[in-house]
Symmetry: C2
Subunit: 388 residues, 2 copies
């Protein structure tokens, strides 16, 4: 008896895996909305006939509102540029929401509106941001004081192929954006800004070997929500990638400012180097069908527990699921969101407002619900405590 | 009493140093020809008022012939694309010629014409090709048999700056051409083709430290003129450069085939990735005024001397000359040519035909004349023989 109505906005890689996960439970009546009939077809296949699809323009808040009004919970898996408007639309029709869109805008700007409307909207609820924030929140709670939080995350191809040893499991332009946007870190309690791709450092990770970590702008809400004097988020790649990307960036190949070059007809034309780079790199950075990816996440925090210097460390390593062909990126991004949707439906998460994941960390049952749900889906997280 | 008339085609960096070197001897009446008044002005300054300049279009064989007809010897320091036509023009007016233009065409195709006209034309007479060929020729003569010849050469900035640790002392497009054109090597007596930038290997060189050597297409005439079963020419750079250039090349940034990208006006435009790369890289690869460069050349040959396994090794390391601001590239390219011009004038080189430098190696006085002349100009070459 499917009595609970679930709406998923976006039928891409992540939306499809959200649909697969939720439609597997008979109590949910899942509807997936997307503009692309092809994407909807793929999502339908993932649901094995147990869910509905609807062709809709998710860049139009009116269409989102019309669909969301009748849903018990809404999940957002839209491209980042559509995320903010969708969040506002769902809040305005007063439906609970879980989003993974990685919007550039400040989601917390809608916190007052959400509170006023009594809406629970959990944002950034993927893997990182997402699970990483939740674990950072747990660390900030368990350690008193919590002195440092160090998050490292990467999505990588299993098969390493030179020169890049990299493929993008999400939009390659967001990857290049990550390599250019200055990274905000917290040092000595202050927000400091470092060049993206700076601070390259080798890191050994269990099951993966040596990767390199470098500064990227990934702390997002943590900068504001946690009072931890030292925090940083770094991206992980196979060694050498960051230096290569730095060369491309520093030579101007990621510049959005047009330059004049000779066109094919001999006339001078203005082009953005970034557009040329997109055209050349993206085909090389795309995963082929069934090509295996992996996701690696480490959250490490230090501080005191009963006055003893203590380190908490979580390690996640996930691979493409051969049985469903769901990429690791899609799995680790979709499952935290579907688990939070369940926790909202069961009333375990009910605070009104726009909530980044670290705000969920105070509730033991919520944290356990998410970590246990991940474990059941084969996403394993190891946890280690060391004390002096 | 300036009685010997010398014509220099091209007043660029190399032509200017040729002019400086020859005008310093009162017996030469030097004339430098170039289309650029500015370049001629700089060449004039290099000659301290001892030479003449003439504005001429060196892409026009008729203008070259008119100027060359009255010269006792002609030196060519033109861009590579003008080299072949200039060579033919000088042969046709039956003047002795020494060229460093690194033309893409096969200079030896004009050998019959030169012989018919009784003209001595020494081509590729710079540092590499040039001095490298001469030393290869010496090795092939001294060793019997000569089994291997290994040439390594590089022009580098003294100050190493990431990401490229490279600047181009000659045309940057010729450098990129070098990174894309398949490299011809000789193995087992056969010409084999390797990808450019392949076979990257660290090499320790005295006074420079560790560089990397990789295959480029530099043997040129040696493939045909020497019967040595194993020969290769490699380019030297600071370690890491080749891998970086391989990434740019393999990702398509050196492709001359147009791709369609979004232009500044939003319309789709066709551009060659290579043109975009030129525009972005060349300003970064240019030497600033007075910026120090170095040239490193190693020629190593193995074979038998009196039935004993013997290795001959020449090492050259040259720097920018602070007193004249002549770059090392210009010095090491210009001086071999001016020394050969003198040897032609003195009758020590008189064979008719188009002669690559290895053809000069049979004459002890010619080889000594060149090496001794380089030494006097501060270009030092060390030589080492080791026998088992």
């Amino acid at each position: 008896m499917a009595s609970t109505r679930v709406l998923i906005l976006g039928a891409g890689m992540v939306g499809g895996v959200m649909a697969m996960d939720l439609a597997s439970e008979r109590r949910f009546r899942v509807t997936v909305a997307d503009a692309s009939a092809e994407a909807l077809q793929r999502a339908k296949a993932r649901m094995h006939g147990r869910g509905a699809t609807v062709q809709a323009d998710c860049s139009n808040p009116k269409e989102i509102k019309a669909l969301a009004a009748s849903a018990d919970v809404v999940l957002g898996a839209l491209p980042s540029r559509l995320g903010f408007a969708a969040l506002r639309a769902v809040i305005e029709v007063e439906r609970p929401y879980v989003d993974i869109s990685f919007m550039a805008e400040e989601a917390l700007d809608l916190d007052r509106l959400a509170k006023k409307r009594g809406v629970t909207a959990v944002v950034d609820m993927g893997v990182a941001p997402g699970l990483s924030n939740l674990l950072a929140g747990v660390a900030a709670r368990e350690l008193s004081p919590c002195r440092t939080i160090d998050i490292m995350v990467g999505g990588l191809p299993v098969e390493r192929r030179l020169p890049f040893e990299y493929k993008a499991a999400f939009s390659p332009s967001d990857v290049i954006e990550e390599y250019t946007r200055p990274a905000r870190l917290v040092e000595g309690g202050q927000v400091v800004v470092r060049e993206a791709l700076s601070g390259i450092e080798p890191v050994d990770l269990p099951g993966v070997g040596t990767l390199e970590a470098f500064n990227t702008d990934g702390l997002r809400s943590l900068v504001r929500t946690l009072k931890v004097p030292t925090m940083r988020e770094r991206t992980l790649r196979y060694p050498g990638h960051a230096t290569l990307m730095k060369a491309f960036r520093d030579a101007g190949f990621f510049d959005p400012t047009p330059i004049m070059v000779r066109g094919v007809d001999g006339q001078s034309v203005g082009v953005r180097p970034l557009d040329v780079t997109h055209r050349l790199l993206f085909p090389k950075w795309s995963y082929g069908p069934g090509e295996r990816d992996l996701t690696v996440l480490r959250v490490e925090a230090t501080g005191l527990v009963d006055r003893r210097e203590t380190t908490l460390r979580w390690d996640l390593l996930d691979h493409l699921d051969e049985s469903t062909s769901a990429t690791s990126m899609a799995r680790t991004t979709a499952f935290p969101a579907t688990l939070v949707a369940r926790l909202i439906l069961s009333g375990k998460i009910d605070a009104p407002g726009v909530l980044p994941p670290e705000r969920l960390a105070d509730s033991g049952p919520v944290v356990e619900g998410i970590l246990d749900g991940l474990r059941k889906r084969g996403v394993n997280l190891s946890f280690e405590v060391t004390s002096e």
